[in-house]
């Protein structure tokens, strides 16, 4: 993955760069809005990580300019402010995801990889499968081998979310945002409880565990199973 970081704080930029590079991604850095925009328009990137507070030109403007030329280029917005209206404004003006500083580098990595590898037509699939597990999106049915598994609505959505990001880590707050549609930080191990229920139904009676825990970060369904 080739990523462009537009961020004026050198510490944060270095933090992101080292995180992405240690995961084997290629990284470029620009420290102001104007140069960042030029670079984003001139070269091909798989992902732009964009800070909102920037010198020369703010992040929202940069985002609009990028969108005018590359409607499909994934953009991850960063903000020091945790204001919801910033988040809403960012997502409305075309950002693909939003992250509030400070963040755990795993969170950023998970989101960045999710964005860069997001297949454009994924939403049109009617069936998701991994190993012997099949998710029928139209009939909302889950089967593993020959057995049909009875899942509740939220459990189904959790599984769907994990499957759509197959092979990538999905963090707890990503799950909360995508399954429950709320931006907030839970104080307890809420998501873990939901996952453990899902596991009970999906994994317990079968030999190969499907959902793996990535310590300190989130969950993943491995791609190697298929």
């Amino acid at each position: 993955m080739k990523a462009l970081i537009i961020e004026d704080d050198p510490t944060v930029a270095e933090h992101i760069r080292s995180g992405l590079e240690s995961a084997g991604h290629e990284c470029f850095h620009q420290s102001d809005g104007k140069n960042g925009l030029n670079r984003a328009l001139d070269e091909h990137f798989d992902l732009v990580i964009l800070d909102i507070m920037l010198p020369e030109m703010d992040g929202f403007t940069v985002l609009e300019e990028i969108r005018a030329v590359h409607p499909a280029l994934p953009v991850l917005l960063l903000s020091a402010k945790s204001q919801v209206d910033d988040k809403v404004r960012g997502l409305r003006s075309g950002a693909n995801d939003y992250l509030t500083k400070p963040f755990a580098i795993e969170e950023l990595l998970a989101r960045a990889e999710g964005l860069a590898g997001r297949p454009g037509a994924a939403s049109k699939e009617t069936e998701l499968s991994v190993g012997d597990l099949t998710l029928d999106l139209l009939r909302r049915k889950v089967t593993r081998g020959e057995t049909e598994i009875d899942l509740q609505a939220k459990e189904f959505q959790l599984l769907e979310c994990l499957l759509r990001n197959r092979g990538k880590v999905v963090t707890r707050s990503m799950l909360l945002e995508r399954v429950w549609n709320y931006h907030f930080d839970p104080q307890t191990n809420l998501i873990d409880v939901h996952i453990s229920r899902l596991r009970q139904k999906v994994d317990k009676t079968f030999n190969i565990p499907l959902i793996e825990t990535v310590r300190g970060t989130g969950y993943r369904i491995s791609e190697g199973l298929s």
Binding site: D9, T11, V12, H15, S18, G19, A80, K81, S82, Q83, V84, D85, V88, T100, K101, P102, F103, A104, I105, K154, W180, Y182, H183, F184, D185, P186, Q187, T188, L190, V193, H194, R197, R215, G216
Partner: protein, 466 residues
């Protein structure tokens, strides 16, 4: 309406009452004066003058004859600056002497007579415009017999009467003025008392709610009360500013500490795997969590988020929270009952979700196993009530007022996980939605318990905050 006690105890009301009392005393005095100055007293002088004339002429007639009396009468009326009408006439009403050519209609009473014709019609030609001075037609007339003749004596009393009339008019004027003063001072007293009461209500509101943004209304700018209000508002500005500054400083500290902490966490991440590393990371995450919560609360309190308000189906938010916590509740064998009406408000769904999940989280933390949690969402009148009741360990009611203070942890909950920011967040979110927060002791009537009630207005408009 304010209690009557508050009115009568105020100094301006007392001043007003004093003015009213003084004015009433003045009015009473005037009436007393009038009662003294009746007709008899007023006319006593004129009566005695007429009596003297009568006596003089009857003595003259008795000691002399009619001729002598006639010449005396004529001499009498020709005296300079004479203001008495005299007529000596016989039984045929023929005037023999005096300054009249015609007798006015009169009967011999003590009541003043008003002449039916102008005075010049009565005066004889010889004296008209000459020695007779009075021009009035208001007379006190007396008539006595002198043998077969009669003599009539009349004195003008108009000057006396007009003085009395002027006095009466002035008296009425004075009464009207006094009544006006009384009414005015009463009005002023009520106005001043009302304003002072409004001011004290604003002040006590600020004390009760801690809402430093409230200000006294200034409806004029010429009097001392408005000046007082202006000074008070300026004082509030100063206080609000200092409080804001203090908040700002603490928020800045949180903000500034967050960056090095993030760096520290980044460095920890790169350390080789070990239990120690994980512990240190968990600590760092915990600290970051606290700072994030602090900043988030500060952010909510700044009320900027109202810009992002939208129509929120409150019942959906409540149901989503329950949905999210349902497995945890089941794991802890806590029984959940709900009573949820469909209710919509203007608000921020994410913040409401956060606040409600904090509340459910709290209840769960303090729940005893096989305890009970009840979640209510109801509309009562113009308030939406969200209540979360539990049968947990409960809290002494003395602690209630401290619960929404940042980092406050009641004695009982020191052993449970948490950072003492959960209810601060709930409180901030409630105020953001123009609501109020209540705590209830043992709402489910079990052995112990704790309840939180969020009361949000149905119409949360901007006008409510300013």
């Amino acid at each position: 309406m304010i209690a009557i006690g508050a009115f009568t105890r105020s100094s301006s009301f007392r001043v007003g009452a004093l003015f009213t009392a003084l004015s009433s005393a003045g009015i009473l005095f005037i009436f007393y004066f009038w009662s003294l100055a009746d007709d008899d007293k007023l006319l006593a002088e004129a009566h005695s003058a007429i009596a003297a004339e009568k006596f003089l002429f009857s003595e003259l007639y008795r000691s002399g004859d009619i001729e002598q009396t006639i010449s005396s009468v004529n001499r009498r009326v020709s005296l300079p600056s004479n203001d008495t009408l005299v007529a000596l006439y016989d039984s045929n009403q023929k005037i023999l002497a005096g300054n009249l050519q015609r007798l006015p209609d009169h009967d011999a009473t003590n009541v003043p007579v008003i002449l039916s014709l102008p005075i010049t019609e009565y005066l004889s030609k010889a004296v008209a415009n000459d020695s007779y001075l009075a021009t009035s037609d208001y007379f006190l007339i007396d008539d006595i017999p002198l043998g077969e003749y009669r003599i009539m004596v009349a004195r003008s009393v108009e000057a006396l009467y007009s003085t009395q009339k002027i006095g009466r008019a002035l008296g009425w004027l004075f009464i009207v003025m006094l009544v006006m003063i009384a009414a005015l001072s009463f009005g002023v007293a009520i106005y001043v008392v009302n304003r002072i009461n409004r001011m004290s209500r604003t002040a006590s509101d600020i004390m009760d709610t801690g809402n430093l943004a409230a200000r006294m209304e200034i409806d004029s700018n010429w009097d001392d009360l408005s000046r007082l209000a202006i000074v008070f508002n300026k004082t509030l500005d100063k206080i609000e500013n200092s409080v804001k500054n203090i908040k700002q400083v603490s928020d800045n500290i949180a903000h500034d500490l967050r960056t090095p902490l993030t760096r520290l966490r980044g460095k920890l991440e790169r350390m080789p795997d070990s239990e120690l590393r994980d512990d240190a990371m968990a600590e760092a995450d915990n600290l970051l969590g606290i700072f994030n919560s602090l900043l988030r609360i500060a952010d909510v309190e700044s009320e900027r988020q109202r810009a992002g308000f939208e129509r929120v189906a409150l019942h959906t938010v409540v149901n989503d929270v329950i949905d999210l916590y349902e497995p945890l509740l089941e794991d802890q064998q806590v029984r959940l009952t709900t009573n949820i009406d469909a209710v919509e408000i203007e608000g921020d769904p994410h913040l409401l979700f956060q606040a409600l999940s904090n509340l459910v989280d709290n209840s769960l933390k303090h729940a005893k196993s096989s305890g009970r949690i009840e979640v209510l969402l109801k509309q009562y009148g113009n308030r939406n009530i969200i209540a979360i009741f539990d049968s947990g360990r409960g809290l002494p009611t003395a602690e209630f007022e401290n619960l929404d203070r940042r980092f406050y942890r009641a004695e009982q909950s020191r052993t449970t996980p948490g950072n003492g920011l959960g209810l601060s967040m709930v409180s901030a979110v409630t105020s953001l939605h123009y609501g109020t927060l209540w705590f209830v002791d043992n709402p489910l009537c079990e052995t112990s318990g704790f309840g939180v009630v969020m009361s949000l207005p149905v119409r949360s408009s901007k006008s409510l905050s300013h």
